[in-house]
Symmetry: C2
């Protein structure tokens, strides 16, 4: 390490952010990884992330790294947990503030941006070896997502703006790892009065086309303020 220009009375940990970006396709939940070009863990897959600059907030750092390293913008982003084990980084003491994000794989900009070499989507159940303590971060993020999706309307962040009820049901089945009853699911979700029927239909399927719905955030906000709480 080179002697630098910035000196402090006591030694300081380096501060980074790392992001677990989830995406959903027809079959499973995926996580966005980047391939490291530098040591340590050169060529290993890792979560997108990097050092927090002294003039940006943590959220800003997370969004900046997502954009710079993976071309991901406009996603749902939430702070997850801060990991401060002593030996998480072999070089020196590094504390990382982890975030998780929900991206719409249907968003063509994201698809395009993450088609780069060294950026990839991996099924959660079949991840490559990860650098640092990133497996652990992914594990914590997954638990959080599973909890959150049941009690808050965040699942929609993984779907296109207009989606069928079957897509939504599959989302819950994939994330929660359980099967749900079609009739009961539809009854419940529609009775919450958060979805509005559009006049669009699914296209390009070789069976009866499903009606598409959209999530009405204004309605949700209003209901939430008057004590309603979302639950699947």
């Amino acid at each position: 390490m080179t002697a630098g220009l910035h000196s402090y009375e006591y030694p300081r940990a380096a501060l980074t952010v790392d992001c677990v970006v989830f995406g959903l396709d027809e079959k499973d939940l995926k996580v966005l990884l980047i391939q490291r070009r530098l040591t340590p863990f050169q060529h290993a897959w890792a979560l997108p992330g990097g050092f927090v600059r002294v003039d940006e907030t943590l959220d800003e750092a997370a969004r900046r790294e997502l954009a710079e390293e993976a071309g991901v913008t406009d996603v749902y982003l939430e702070q997850l947990y801060t990991f401060g084990e002593l030996d998480r980084d072999p070089r020196e003491r590094v504390v990382t503030v982890a975030y998780y994000a929900l991206a719409k794989l249907s968003d063509h900009r994201i698809r395009a941006a993450t088609d780069a070499l060294g950026v990839g989507w991996f099924p959660l159940e079949d991840l490559p070896a990860l650098a640092f303590d990133h497996v652990n971060i992914v594990k914590v993020a997954t638990e959080r997502l599973r909890g959150k999706v049941r009690y808050a309307p965040v699942g929609f962040e993984l779907l296109p703006p207009r989606f069928s009820l079957t897509q939504l049901q599959r989302l819950y089945e994939i994330i929660l790892g359980t099967e749900l009853d079609k009739r009961n699911f539809r009854k419940k979700i529609l009775s919450m009065d958060l979805l509005v029927e559009t006049d669009e239909m699914e296209r390009g399927v070789r069976h009866r086309a499903a009606r598409l719905y959209r999530f009405d955030r204004r309605r949700y906000d209003k209901l939430a303020r008057s004590g309603f709480s979302f639950a699947i």
Copy 2:
């Protein structure tokens, strides 16, 4: 700031921990505060906390500060959120990892330790002006506690090891800010099979003495592993 011995290539934020310690008495939920002896915010009340040393984990730093500044040990402690706004500290960039803790006010060691001048318990609803962004941290901690207490058996951390059902009910009423029905509450909590009746009775009250119960953590762990989930 003196020029120090520790130099880095890029400027680094300072890293601190801050703890919101909750305690419960007969009437309300209290928060432990300490009075600052140094600038900035000299003499103002603040959350116990301080700088994270480069050779200790975040949890260790939180427990060390609790012990050093407030004499608080052996409490339930959980990481809350990391606050990284640019101007939270007027001196320089400081990122703080906030924790919340649940202390038994019935624990005489804690009572004794926090009887010191410059350490005090304040009702959550009537806090003095706080240093830095500590009001905000307390607000986030309170929301978390309210959420957590409903879905996890953490309320017991605020009560003495043996407690009456009425004490437990009051705990929920105070934290959640709602009234609960006595018969329904008792039915529900006892049906979970997490409390065991002791042969002790409440003492020194001028009415019929209540039976004391204790929380059986082993039983809870066993149930939790087989899919049971606590809920009030």
